[in-house]
């Protein structure tokens, strides 16, 4: 456990030792605000809730989270420091988890810094804060799922740009699988069961449910298992690729 924490701390410091952390937080906050007020019509809706705020998170995450995840392993492999790290008394699982926890914690910080919007909505009306809390939990979990994909892809390549593009594309597909373009592509030839299966893989479907304040265990299990599966794959890939 202390090993995992040591790795996480180093990784978190690495984010803040480059402009990446600050750029990420500023852009995330600016976009989150802009989408809420302009596209989400926060004021026009006249409702005391944060649906307008949360509904754009998946779209922000699709290209912002891969930017957080892209360096996790690609940079280690490119600079050769993976040899330094993996010859310390550290298991691959500890290394993968330590890095993931740091990156996830970092996105958590960014997410928490959106608190003014919560204050705003509480000032303007009396929202159901339970639903808002659920929204934050759901958003954080979804960020974790995107990040697990990003971390996994990052281990596949030495090139951070490639890692970014591929994980953004992968996250996009995961998200879109519940929407009409993908659904109609399947509906033509696949059975209803397959269509439903593809839809059930969609981040959006599960995320929407959580942000509406519906605490369905299945949504949590879904997002947690995406994290679990991709981190497991991440461990396998690091073991396979570290020497190459």
């Amino acid at each position: 456990m202390s090993t995992l924490l040591a790795i996480s701390r180093r990784e978190l410091n690495a984010y803040f030792s480059t402009p990446l952390a600050y750029v990420f937080i500023v852009i995330f906050l600016a976009l989150a605000g802009a989408t809420t007020f302009y596209f989400g019509g926060f004021f026009q809706r006249g409702q005391a809730d944060l649906a307008a705020f949360f509904s754009f998170h998946p779209w922000l995450y699709v290209f912002l989270i891969p930017a957080v995840g892209m360096r996790l392993w690609a940079e280690e492999r490119k600079s050769g420091t993976i040899e330094l790290l993996m010859t310390l008394p550290v298991s691959t699982t500890e290394a993968v988890l330590g890095k993931f926890v740091a990156a996830w914690f970092f996105t958590g910080i960014a997410l928490l810094m959106t608190f003014p919007i919560w204050i705003t909505v509480n000032y303007l009306g009396s929202p159901d804060n339970g639903v808002i809390f659920a929204g934050y939990v759901g958003s954080f979990l979804m960020a974790g799922a995107f990040l697990a994909i990003g971390s996994f892809v990052s281990a596949l390549t030495r090139n951070q740009v490639i890692a970014f593009v591929i994980s953004a594309a992968a996250c996009f597909l995961f998200m879109m699988s519940g929407l009409e373009p993908v659904q109609s592509a399947f509906r033509g030839w696949a059975s209803a069961f397959v269509v439903d299966l593809v839809a059930s893989l969609s981040f959006l479907t599960h995320f929407d449910a959580i942000t509406k304040g519906v605490f369905d265990l299945r949504d949590f299990i879904y997002l947690s298992s995406v994290i679990g599966v991709f981190l497991f794959a991440n461990v396998v890939v690091v073991d396979l690729k570290k020497g190459s």
């Binding site: 090993t3 690495a14 480059t18 008394p89």
Partner: protein
């Protein structure tokens, strides 16, 4: 002398290519083993397997009795490792890096402070302690890498080309450091700088195309050189013919090589047959024939010569 590192039939294949083939040796406490070989001969791959970075195709390494394929974490605790090129987290300072390594190695409190202080003092890193590693010179980076490797006072120290890219003073420092630490550790250093072997190693292993082709003390290796126990003579070029005449008929001499001449003095090497001691006999003949000689000394054998000889002829002995 107890065995601290034992390598048993280590083999690594990358697809069809065999990078390391059935390499076995052991290193005891107090020994400094020089691991020699041309570039691409499998030195680094062997070291990566010993340190648990790569898993061997077959064979294994025991570090203080622990098998690296079964219990890599314990093995890694006993090893200090400087990877080839000394990769470091460039956006950290030495302070941050040593702190991280100490944390991962489970050092805390006073022991942690002491270990870091010790390593920083040993490698004279005070002045750059809080600078970003990416901005440091090559020599400093290498020393940061070395400090990181000795931080936890490991039983086995594995250094992949520790002096590569250092200036002569820094090389000297690193060699002194290695000699100093060797008393209670088993140290393996890989190098293709042969003078290093003479300078610090108590034993040398030569590896070529993934196979071990020689194992012995530096003197053992020198003995394989055609020049071992040869006698070099410096004299006026006009006396060379006289020298040839004087030495003719000696059984232990396999030939006479005339080297460079600067017009005043020429260097002549009298080759010894199979390393026999010829200096006395040569000296006597020279005196008996009244040849005037400026300088006369015994060759120790040239390591680079041996190195070239045994690594280029397909590994034949």
């Amino acid at each position: 002398m107890s065995t601290m590192l034992e390598i048993q039939g280590l083999t690594k294949q990358f697809g069809q290519f065999t990078a390391v083939e059935d390499v076995s040796f052991s290193v005891g406490s107090g020994e400094v083993l020089g691991f020699l070989g041309p570039n691409g001969s499998g030195k680094s791959t062997t070291m990566k397997m010993v340190t648990g970075f790569l898993s061997p195709t077959s064979g294994t390494a025991l570090v203080c009795g622990n098998d690296v394929t079964r219990d890599p974490i314990t093995v890694k605790r006993h090893i200090g490792y400087l990877p080839e090129g000394a990769p470091l987290y460039e956006d950290m300072s030495p302070a941050g890096l040593f702190g991280f390594v100490a944390n991962v190695r489970g050092l805390s409190g006073a022991a942690r402070r002491l270990a870091i202080d010790h390593a920083v003092t040993k490698l004279q890193l005070d002045e750059v302690y809080n600078q970003q590693i990416g901005t440091l010179s090559k020599g400093f980076k290498r020393r940061v890498g070395l400090a990181q490797a000795i931080l936890h006072d490991p039983d086995v120290l594995i250094l992949d080309e520790p002096t590569d890219g250092l200036d002569p003073n820094q090389k000297h420092q690193v060699r002194e450091l290695i000699a100093e630490m060797s008393a209670d550790k088993a140290i393996v250093i890989s190098t293709h700088v042969l003078e290093e072997v003479d300078a610090v190693c108590s034993r040398a292993i030569v590896i070529a195309r993934g196979k071990k082709i020689a194992d012995g003390t530096p003197t053992d290796l020198e003995r394989r050189s055609g020049y071992y126990n040869s006698v070099s003579v410096h004299l006026h070029p006009e006396h060379i013919e006289g020298l040839r005449g004087a030495l003719s008929g000696m059984n232990d001499i396999s030939g006479i090589e005339v080297g460079n001449s600067d017009g005043v003095l020429a260097q002549v090497t009298v080759m010894s047959r199979e390393g026999a001691t010829i200096v006395e006999a040569v000296n006597t003949r020279i005196r008996e024939n009244g040849i005037s000689v400026e300088q006369l000394y015994v060759e120790r054998g040239r390591l680079d010569d041996v190195f070239r000889q045994i690594t280029s002829d397909g590994g034949a002995r």
